[in-house]
Each structure stands twice: as C-alpha cells, then as structure tokens.
C-alpha cells in the first residue's frame, strides 16, 4: 500500500514537473507546478512528516502559488510573446547535457557511498515533535526568519510603489 502510494505520487510529481518547464503558457506552467507541489506534499506524508505536509500545502501550494498566478494574470502576456518564449532546441540540448552530467555525477557518488539506512517509519514528524525542536535548538534561526519575512514584506511594498 505504502509503495503503491509512493509510486503514484512520484510519477505525478515528475510528470507535472516536466509539464511545468515545457508549457509555453505560464498559467499552464503554474497549474502544473501546483499539482507537483501537492504531490511532493503527499510524499512528505508517506515519510510521516505530517507537519511538512500541512506547511507544504498551506504555504507552497496555497500562498506562493496564488501569488504567482496573480502576477501572471496581472502581466497578461500576449499569445505571440508566450510562443516566442517557449523552449528552443539548442538551449534544451545544452541544458539536458548539464542535467545528464549532474545525474551521472550524483549516481556515481551514491554508488560509492555504499547505500543508505532504510527509511525509518518510527520517526514522527508531527507538529508537536517538530515544534519542540524549533523552540529549543533552533529558536534563534526561527527569530531570524521572522525578521527576514518582515524585510521581504517591506521590500515588496517599496518595489511596488517606486517608479524606476
């Protein structure tokens, strides 16, 4: 059962990721990316990372994607311009070479490492357990993130107001 769920979710994630980078209409890309993010949230759930599952759905598939789709609709690109910005042959070829190189490198590094320990289902990633770690060992990074978010909000407002 677990393994069937894993394969379904990973096929959906990879297929929608391919659609995200290959569609010429950015709105189609954004919707494919949303499907991919939901599938990754499901993969978090199969890892029993319940906190990450909820955060991924709320923050990524929810807030960030709404922002992206809002901006795409705000810009209202013309059909002709979208077509011109689609995938082009030579670029795809060169970047695929880079991709194959990275995959080969990592596969070689992985085969040399002698394998990993199996995924342990006992590790419970519930909100309570994660919060215990965040508010003890990682409390300073947590506060820094809040300052970062404040700085981002101020920066976005300034970028939105200013005439460059």
């Amino acid at each position: 059962m677990e393994s069937v769920l894993f394969w379904i979710l990973s096929v959906v994630a990879v297929a929608s990721a391919v659609l995200t980078v290959s569609r010429s209409n950015p709105l189609a890309s954004a919707l494919s990316l949303t499907v991919c993010l939901v599938a990754v949230a499901g993969l978090f759930a199969t890892l029993s990372a319940h906190f990450l599952f909820i955060i991924q759905l709320l923050v990524y598939a929810g807030a960030v994607m709404v922002l992206v789709i809002y901006v795409i609709m705000l810009l209202n690109l013309k059909e002709r311009e979208m077509k011109a910005l689609g995938l082009s042959g030579p670029r795809v070829f060169v970047s695929s070479l880079v991709a194959v190189f990275v995959v080969a490198l990592l596969a070689r590094a992985q085969s040399g490492s002698g394998g990993f320990d199996p995924v342990s289902p006992v590790l419970d990633g519930s909100a309570r357990r994660v919060a215990e770690i965040i508010f003890t060992s990682y409390v300073y990074p947590f506060e820094v993130v809040s300052i970062l978010l404040l700085a981002a909000v101020v920066g976005v407002v300034v970028l939105g107001m200013k005439k460059f």
């Binding site: 990879v14 950015p26 991919c36 955060i55 991924q56 990524y60 910005l85 590790l123 970028l159 939105g160």
Partner: protein, 101 residues
C-alpha cells in the same frame, strides 16, 4: 517492494534536475522563477528523506526554514518581475542586458 531512502532521493534528484533544465533553457522570467521553486522542492524532499534515514528530526526543521525563505524569495522575485515588466514591457530574460552594455 520496500521503499528506501534511495527512491526518495531519486525523485528529489529528478525534480532538482528538471528545475535546473527549466532555469537554463527557458527565457520567460516567470517560468524561471517557478523552476527555482521546483529545485527547492527537490532539495526539501532530500532533506526529509535524509532525516528519516538518520533518525534525526532536524531535517524537518531545515525544510520548514527553507519553505519560509522560499516564500520570501517568491514575494520579492515576483515584485521584481512586476517592476521590470512596468519598465520594459517584457518578461524575456534575453532583453534584460543593461548591466552588460
């Protein structure tokens, strides 16, 4: 079949590489930003899988921080896209060459 860490790492590697191809091959600024999000997701999945492999929950905390920073990055990035579009009327990356001249 037992699903091991390797399977999760393979999916995360695929997501990362597909995102990298998107960043390198696409010229639409919006799609490049979305591809960066894909790469971040691949890295997040690897963090969560390694956390299970090693039995330490710190990986989950790091993913939480990555998601928070990615949200800030997406907001600022999209604001820059809007500002650039107002100024130039395009989202073609090849047209943004003013530092190059």
């Amino acid at each position: 079949m037992i699903i091991g860490t390797e399977n999760y790492l393979a999916v995360s590697l695929l997501l990362f590489v597909i995102g990298a191809v998107g960043v390198l091959a696409r010229r639409n600024l919006l799609v490049v930003l979305m591809s960066v999000e894909l790469m971040l997701n691949g890295a997040n999945l690897a963090f969560a899988a390694f956390a299970r492999a090693r039995g330490v929950l710190a990986g989950d905390v790091i993913v939480f921080f990555v998601i928070a920073v990615a949200a800030a990055e997406a907001a600022v990035g999209l604001a820059i896209v809007v500002a650039l579009f107002r100024k130039r009327g395009t989202v073609n990356l090849d047209r943004f060459t003013s530092l190059h001249q």
